[in-house]
């Protein structure tokens, strides 16, 4: 933002920290995620800075390195063998290509498909530039409403990101051709913005979107320069908070074609849950919060190199051991690491069932301005030069997130009157889903107590579903019917949800007997 002629500050990945001088302006609410040491050293979040005047020198700190793309683009795909989408537009040169897009709140991922045989030619991912206008969807809608030209700006940012993904796909593909078909799966807000509609109604009761199905438009109509003649198929939405990304996830899970009852979790910024089979489907949004995406947690970061991805607590010395994505010194902890950390702290008896720290022995706890904190990495071993700490308020938001996820599934089961044992498969989708340690998840009670063998990790199911829809016309038609055949269950008006949530606000669960198979914490002495 700012004057493009003067400002040389560019959008950087979400957790990139930059050193600015002079005249740096930081929005007050962004400061929370930086430590006081960082602020004193003049470090600011690039995505939250506006250069006001003069030239700005930007230094990208070492921990803000390129993304670990695989986390966001890998997904189990359906084996499909056509018929492929009808080619309405004959390419002027080269071979016909299709692009599948997953337009996420924080990440845009894409895959390039050869429409002759359905093979995936390239994959890429980029950060959603809208992150500069708010981490979650609601704050982006607020940004759009409160700023003149807010929504056009949000749309331009999204288009910039999509252009970046598409040109990245074309660049890295070995096959010359023209993109004639695009399928885009995104949540309702992003889909509305992409389609040029105001997402404002989603924010207010009764949270209904302007459109649930988006008639096909060409790239030229939407303003996408890199694929002007492509037909854009935007996945339909189920409700205000259950969007096309979930429809695409259902498609990838295949639950709508099977007799077996499947529970589908999309553990993203919001945490949507779908229950169903080929007879019925019911979906809800758990408003779980982004703790497992590294958000709302002081030491949290996305799954980039330098992020701690798994943690073990030494039962005797009570200190943390970890593995870092890409090796080297850690800069923060990503979702799977946060999950591991909490589970290990619980097993070591350093967290009680109520989600409170229990300092004991020589465990490395210290007081911070955000409450008691467990020191995961000491300053001398961290890439930032400051302690990486996990605070009491971080722990609270993890427990709230896990309670919302667990209670959402129970609420759906209760709504349709099914017992837990009728669920035959539990699919976990989302970037986090690829690297999740199920044992840790069940120690904390992130999901209801299903046997381990029922879990299937789908990875980025939203992208996988979008690829499926490009490869097979029938899949796209299924997606179009899914939005009307899947019921939306509003948890905010569900009378029993708060009680289920309160039950789940405990580790692993107030209904501890159901989790008996899980490892118990070593008793504190």
């Amino acid at each position: 933002m700012g004057d493009p002629g003067k400002g040389i500050l560019r959008f950087l990945p979400e957790s990139a920290s930059v050193r600015l001088s002079p005249g740096d302006t930081v929005l007050a609410h962004a400061i929370r995620s930086l430590s006081p040491e960082d602020l004193r050293a003049g470090i600011r979040l690039a995505c939250r800075c506006l250069p006001l005047e003069g030239e700005v020198a930007v230094t990208v700190l070492p921990e803000s390195r390129p993304a670990r793309l695989s986390a966001y683009i890998e997904g189990k795909e359906m084996a499909e063998d056509g018929p492929f989408l009808p080619l309405h537009v004959v390419p002027r040169k080269g071979i016909p290509l299709g692009a599948a897009l997953d337009a996420g709140t924080s990440t845009l991922a894409g895959a390039l498909i050869d429409l002759r045989n359905g093979s995936v030619l390239a994959r890429t991912a980029a950060d959603n530039p809208q992150m500069a206008c708010g981490e979650d969807l609601i704050s982006r809608i607020v940004f759009g409403e409160e700023n003149p030209d807010g929504f056009p700006l949000l749309r331009n940012l999204l288009l910039t990101g999509i252009e970046q993904v598409i040109s990245g796909l074309v660049r890295s593909s070995s096959v010359e051709g023209e993109i004639v078909e695009v399928s885009a799966a995104g949540n309702t807000v992003i889909s509305h913005i992409l389609y040029g509609l105001s997402p404002s109604p989603v924010r207010r009761p009764p949270h209904r979107p302007v459109l649930k199905e988006y008639p096909v438009k060409t790239g030229k109509d939407l303003g996408i320069v890199s694929a002007p003649s492509a037909r854009f198929r935007i996945f339909p939405s189920i409700g205000g908070f259950v969007g096309g990304d979930i429809v695409s996830g259902i498609l990838a899970s295949g639950m709508h074609r099977e007799e077996a009852v499947t529970l589908l979790y999309d553990v993203g910024t919001n945490g949507e849950v779908v229950l169903g089979n080929r007879e019925f489907r019911i979906a809800c949004s758990s408003s779980a919060g982004p703790a497992f995406e590294g958000g709302e947690v002081a030491c949290g970061m996305r799954a980039y190199p330098g992020a701690i991805e798994s943690v073990r607590i030494d039962p005797v010395r009570l200190t943390a051991e970890w593995t870092v994505i890409g090796g080297g010194k850690p800069a923060g902890v990503c979702g799977s690491g946060i999950l591991d950390l909490c589970a290990e702290l619980f097993r070591a008896g350093l967290i009680d069932r109520a989600g409170r720290f229990v300092p004991r022995g020589r465990a490395p706890f210290r007081e911070t301005d955000r409450g008691t904190a467990f020191v995961v990495v000491r300053a001398e071993r961290s890439a930032t030069g400051a302690d990486i700490v996990f605070t009491a308020s971080d722990l609270k938001s993890v427990v709230r997130t896990k309670a919302a996820l667990c209670a959402a599934a129970d609420a759906l089961l209760r709504a349709v009157g099914l017992p837990r044992d009728k669920v035959e498969r539990v699919c976990i989708a989302g970037g986090f889903g690829n690297f999740l340690d199920l044992r840790s998840a069940q120690t904390l009670g992130v999901f209801p107590p299903f046997p381990m063998k029922k879990f299937v990790l789908l990875g980025n199911a939203s992208l996988a579903g979008a690829i499926g829809a490009i490869r097979n016309r029938k899949r796209w038609e299924e997606a179009c019917t899914l939005c009307s055949s899947t019921d939306y269950h509003d948890l905010s008006s569900d009378q029993g949800f708060m009680e289920l949530y309160q039950r789940a606000l405990f580790i692993p669960h107030t209904d501890a007997e159901s989790y008996r198979g899980n490892p118990l914490p070593e008793t504190a002495t």
Binding site: R353, A354, R356, T510, T523
Partner: protein
């Protein structure tokens, strides 16, 4: 032809809990039943126990209590003696609210001394309640646990302070009252936390927070009943005796306000307000009831539902 009455059989049984007495006193045992309180079936070996509250802080007494206590109101030790010996309380609930910074601000040592003296003056079981102020209670409970000459119950432990209260109880052999704010799940959570700490189940009572008549009593009724049903259905963490402290009935304006003459005699009204709250709790399944009015103790001891 006689039609047999259907009888409900539950798989669980409420754990019997004994509140220990001093030399020459009668211990109080509650629990042990395997049916709901008003149902005709099942075994109910112990009737509900009726206790009285003694407060250490000064402050204005409601008209009904001022009349009943007469001159004993200011001295907790002599009031405790009257409760146990004259008015028939089976146990005492000694609230150290005098240590609250807003309620007199007695030093912690003074609170512990009063506990010591009351324990010497009466032989019935005693439950000692904190002042309700987090920082003061953090010092008060360990001091009380240490200075109490015989086993008492400490009230209360919730999910925040359970380590402190449970730890003090474990170290000196006392029992614990597990408190939760009218929420069956939080009631179970508090019990799970105390169990994790190693407090034996036969030394835990459940206090589900009792709202006074017109001030949340119906919520309490429902939660007490649900706790009991869960316990009888086999949830061991909730199969424990429930204590209903009727102090909230005295917070109702209707129970204390003497200026509203059209409401009738404030002395009688206050007593009836507490009594009505008490009957509801007893019907819901409470095992221990804590009154403030001596007249109500007599009424309930005579009823002695089983």
């Amino acid at each position: 032809m006689t039609v047999p009455l259907p009888k409900q059989a539950y798989p669980g049984r409420i754990l019997p809990v004994t509140l220990p007495a001093g030399p020459g006193g009668t211990p109080v045992t509650v629990g042990g039943q395997n049916a709901l309180s008003l149902a005709p079936e099942g075994e109910k070996p112990n009737a509900a126990a009726i206790g009285m509250e003694v407060r250490t802080g000064g402050g204005d007494l409601p008209p009904a209590l001022a009349k009943a206590f007469e001159c004993r109101a200011t001295d907790p030790v002599s009031l405790a003696g009257a409760c146990a010996n004259d008015w028939g309380a089976q146990f005492l609930f000694l609230s150290l609210d005098g240590c609250h910074p807003d309620g007199g601000g007695q030093p912690v040592e003074e609170g512990a001394r009063i506990v010591h003296e009351v324990l010497a003056a009466v032989s019935c079981p005693v439950i000692v309640g904190g002042c309700g102020e987090e920082e003061t209670d953090a010092k008060l409970f360990p001091a009380v646990a240490e200075s109490a000459g015989r086993p008492v119950f400490l009230s209360y432990a919730d999910e925040k302070n359970y380590r402190l209260v449970g730890g003090a109880a474990l170290a000196y052999g006392h029992g614990v009252v597990a408190w939760s704010p009218i929420d069956i799940n939080m009631a179970k959570q508090a019990n799970l936390l105390l169990s994790d700490l190693g407090v034996p189940p036969e030394r835990i009572l459940i206090d589900p927070l009792t709202g006074g008549l017109g001030y949340g009593l119906e919520y309490t009724y429902s939660i007490v009943e649900r706790i009991r049903l869960a316990g009888l259905s086999g949830d061991a963490m909730l199969a424990r005796p429930v204590l209903c402290h009727l102090g909230d009935a005295w917070k109702a304006r209707e129970a204390v306000d003497a200026s509203e003459t059209s409401w009738g005699d404030a002395v009688l009204r206050g007593r009836r307000w507490e009594e009505t709250t008490g009957w509801a709790c007893l019907a819901a399944g409470a095992d221990l009831l804590v009154f403030r009015h001596p007249g109500n103790v007599e009424a309930f001891r005579e009823a002695a539902w089983r």
